[in-house]
Amino acid sequence: MTNVLTQENLNHSSQVAAHEHEHDEAGNSMFGFIVFLLSESVIFLSFFAGYIIYKTTTSDWLPVGVEGLEVREPAINTVILVSSSFVIYIAERYLHKENLWGFRFFWLLTMAMGSYFLYGQAVEWQSLQFGFSSGVFGGTFYLLTGFHGLHVFTGVLLQGIMLMRSFLPGNYEKGQFGVEATSLFWHFVDVIWIVLFILIYIWQ
């Protein structure tokens, strides 16, 4: 009898330990992901610094025949991307309340808004009269918007994976790190865009 009890106690304590271990792992993952994002932000900061230096020191900044950049369409794009940060937050709230369909609806809405942003970017790129190799203006423009667009694309891809995983039974038993990290990444991409929009479109 005592043996059985000890065995049960052991099982119980090992379960607690395992649970704490999982909790710890999710905490580690989130911490590591934040560290990674901080590091990743330095690439953007470097590009921004390069852009500022080019813009303030280059004598023939705009390529011949280019007046500047159209702001209206990118501004609409900006509003959509910034709003999607709130939408993804609502999706997360629904997941916390364990309302999976609410989560999926708003999550899908975020994906749609992100995809629309990419579409708008592609349309804008097609309408421009300068290319990647049109001096440092063309180079920095496509480098910044392209590198950021790659991050938006990655974000939408991650969101797609998380959406599919939400249909797996027992997916959230080990916590919601994937969803939380994707959401954080989305906010990161969003903040970067705001700085980028100010630098490229507002400051002309």
Binding site: G32, S39, V42, I53, T58, F132
Partner: protein
Amino acid sequence: MTQITPEILTNKTPESPPNPPNWLRYFSFSTDHKVIGIQYTVTAFFFFLVAGIFAMIIRGELITPEADLVDRTVYNALFTMHGTIMLFGWMFPVLAGLANYLVPLMIGARDMAFPRLNAAAFWMVPFFGMMFILSFLVPGGPAQAGWWSYPPVSIQNPSGQWLNGEFLWLLAVALSGVSSIMGAVNIVTTIVRMRCPGMGWFKMPIFVWTVLAAQIIQLFGLPALTAGAIMLLCDLSFGTTFFDPAQGGDPVLFQHFFWFYSHPAVYVMILPVFGIFSEIFPVYARKPLFGYKVVAVSSLIIVALSAVVWVHHMFASGTPDWMRMLFMISTMLISVPTGIKVFAWVATIWGGKLRLDSAMLFALGGLINFVFSGITGIMLSSTPVDIHVNNTYFVVGHFHYVIYGAIVFGLYAAIYHWFPKMTGKMYYEGLGKLHFWLTFIGTSLNFIPMHPLGLMGMPRRVASYDPEFAFWNFIASIGAFILGMSIIPFLVNMVASWLSGPSAPDNPWRAIGLEWLVSSPPDVENFEEIPIVISEPYTYGTSEPLTENMGG
């Protein structure tokens, strides 16, 4: 490695069934930080030998004033790949290996925070390392613009092919950056979140402090190099003009991106070596580390200062006077936290009962060389001196004194010190001492002559030179060949000891530290029971136990 098989297999002990010491795991995608640590170290050593052979050919070319050994184009490729492979193939991987092996043991963790990420980061090393080597086979040969790859030289692409040496160089450097960032995220998370109970910040060994400091630099510095490398790749392959002055680009901007990372990168390499010195001196002098807390914090001061010194590489790049002044002062300030460490080590040794084993000899030699290279460093930080010796052998001499004289010495010290822990075998002390003296004499003969050469005005990266420089170059080449020979007793020692050395006890040096409380080599899980730390490290001369549950 295959010769090791039978020995390792017969070494199998029945009491550790979950840990079959099977040599094959060193070739597998193992997630054990100790296996990965050794994988890193051995792989790095292979690239050390490759880049070392390049150095031998370079010094062979320079033994006479005429360019008569290799073609000048080959010479350019050799010094470029020597520097590149030494840094990205040897230095960073071997340091990652030591950090991997030691940090979890020192902080009482069972493994790193992200074991699979850890293995993935390692397996990129042989891949990009081979990319560097195989770039010798593409048309036009490997990159030839020096390890700093300055434009516009680096974007010329004389072969006209899209697959050229510079392209592969940039790709391999980028992969190395990804691997390093993965490692840095892992190590920082491990140190911040996986310390055992009682292991507060000021109970961590200095090696852990310095690894943390170094990895923080990786995290904020490497992305800047990545940004510059992406832009350089676009210039080289996609027709942009970021760094092409003929079309409105700014080549100096690349230098900013490059040095914003690559000067702090030197601290990434030497900070862990400061940690190694701080671990070794107390053990072999039987005294507590002098000024533990100050030594710990000074690493973080170096991190902060390292972000604002990079322009001292660009005093001759059209840098305005106010910037020269600013960066001269910030660079000189680096000597304060490093000076604190040097005095702390001297005070630790002072009056101690010294035991001159190989590890201690290398640590002492490294300390002496570091002081010497620190003095020439202060000279170089001063703008007028720097303008005078810019791009001369003085810079090459200073740099190699830091890299070989201090860092490689520190790495050897670490390998000797922790070899019994890693392999469970003792090394041969006589061969270790022979290795030390050959290395010390070789280093001095090789790198001291570069200082007078630089002051006389011999430029770096040349295959031929004025006969007035012949004397010092001859001495330097002889030193280099001695340095090349010095590897032989080391390799013989390591391989022979690992195969058939006497078994090592758990704590052969009577050292204090969590890693010395577990068996040699440690079990897969490191600790049977997670230790609870109750005292500061380096309590030599007191009877205070290190842990509550494991003694020490």
